[in-house]
């Protein structure tokens, strides 16, 4: 394995350093990348779909099918973790004594109680303000997941605050399906897949695209949040046999000290 790695690194290194100078210089406005397709995106985003954030328009509308594939990749990763590590102990709504021992402490608990509401609120802001400022589906979903994961870290492993494991799977799949459904509506109406301007909304074409982007962003947020919580639960939760060993070890440890 070691010799293969040196050969591969040598081959890649030679190709990289040999060809770097012939790439267009960084930052020159006439380079092919900034003069062929991207001027259309920059000049027409605001008029086409009333969305100043040019990256959001490219992500969700001009190349919206890529992001549907992207949301599917995230769902695939979640389902893969579910299949590989799928057997975990059922969740308990309220933390038991052992959970408190293994993780929690008053300081952490108070901090989490203060932080989590603002994290979730900021996540929703990032999602809904994605049209005008950097942010959008992926970032909002990640922050939602970060809030829920923070509570799991503070409260101990098997406490299912907010979203438990079965709901996380359904969340991941239904988020991806929401994105898919927004595209399917226009296809079933006889138009092209993901053509938001043909959505059955009583608005102008640009605003219909704007609403289409919002609907799709919500789907991405739900999918990313569900998947990240699912992957965290798979990695973090204790399977059946470890659970008993751990509880008995802690009880033995507790008697040893007293």
């Amino acid at each position: 394995m070691r010799s293969l790695s040196w050969i591969a690194v040598l081959f890649t290194g030679v190709v990289l350093f040999y060809t770097a100078p012939s790439l267009p210089p960084i930052g020159d406005p006439e380079s092919p990348a900034s003069s062929h397709v991207s001027p259309y995106y920059i000049e027409n985003s605001v008029s086409d779909m009333a969305t100043p954030n040019l990256v959001t328009t490219v992500v969700t509308d001009y190349r919206g099918y890529d992001t549907l594939g992207e949301t599917t990749v995230i769902m695939t990763a979640g389902l893969a973790c579910l299949l590989i590590l799928g057997f975990w102990t059922p969740m308990r709504r309220h933390p038991t004594e052992t959970d408190r021992l293994s993780f929690g402490s008053p300081v952490l608990d108070a901090a989490a109680r203060l932080l989590v509401p603002y994290i979730l609120l900021f996540a929703l802001y990032v999602l809904f303000h994605g049209h005008h400022s950097p942010g959008g589906g992926f970032q909002g979903g990640t922050l939602l997941a970060a809030g829920v994961i923070l509570v799991r870290l503070v409260r101990g492993r098997d406490c299912g605050w907010g979203v438990d494991r079965e709901q996380a799977v359904r969340l991941a799949c239904s988020g991806a399906f929401l994105y898919y459904a927004v595209g399917l509506i226009t296809m079933l109406m006889g138009h092209l897949f993901l053509d938001y301007s043909k959505l059955p909304l009583p608005l102008t074409a640009a605003m219909r695209r704007n609403m289409g982007i919002l609907g799709v962003e919500i789907g991405v947020t739900v999918a990313v949040a569900g998947t990240m919580i699912l992957i965290f639960d798979c990695l973090h939760a204790t399977p059946h046999e470890d659970r008993e060993a751990e509880v008995s070890a802690e009880r033995a440890g507790a008697e040893g000290h007293t």
Binding site: I26, I42, L235
Partner: protein
């Protein structure tokens, strides 16, 4: 001097890519292979962002009320959109890799590749 800066990014990307590739193939510890994979993917993201730049152009968010933005004023948004995908794919792959590592550890009690191969060979015999 500016000629150096024009391709400085590409040298940096090349070195980072080689560090990541070497780490993935040569590191014995499986967890470090995953870290090297993330470094490998960050190098590709840097590569895409370096040829998205335009001198004298601002970040690709049009200010409020500007109905017809000019192409020269804003950075190329397409590589940014592509790299959002690359980051999320990287984290997804890392999640699946870590799930595999946890299940390998539960079965073989080790994450070092030489020990792992030795245990598997002993079981085959």
């Amino acid at each position: 001097m500016s000629a150096f800066y024009e391709i400085a990014n590409y040298w940096g990307v090349a070195i980072l890519l080689l560090v990541g590739l070497h780490g993935m193939l040569a590191r014995p510890n499986l967890m470090r292979k995953l870290m090297a994979m993330n470094i490998f993917q960050v190098a590709v993201i840097l590569f895409y962002l370096s040829f998205a730049e335009k001198t004298g152009a601002s970040t690709p968010v049009a200010p409020h009320g500007l109905l017809h933005p000019l192409a020269a004023d804003f950075i190329n948004p397409l590589p940014h959109a592509l790299m959002l995908t690359a980051i999320v794919v990287g984290v997804g792959t890392t999640g699946v890799g870590l799930a595999l590592l946890v299940s390998i550890y539960r079965r073989y009690e080790t994450l070092e590749e030489p020990e792992l191969l030795e245990k598997m060979r002993r079981e085959n015999a």
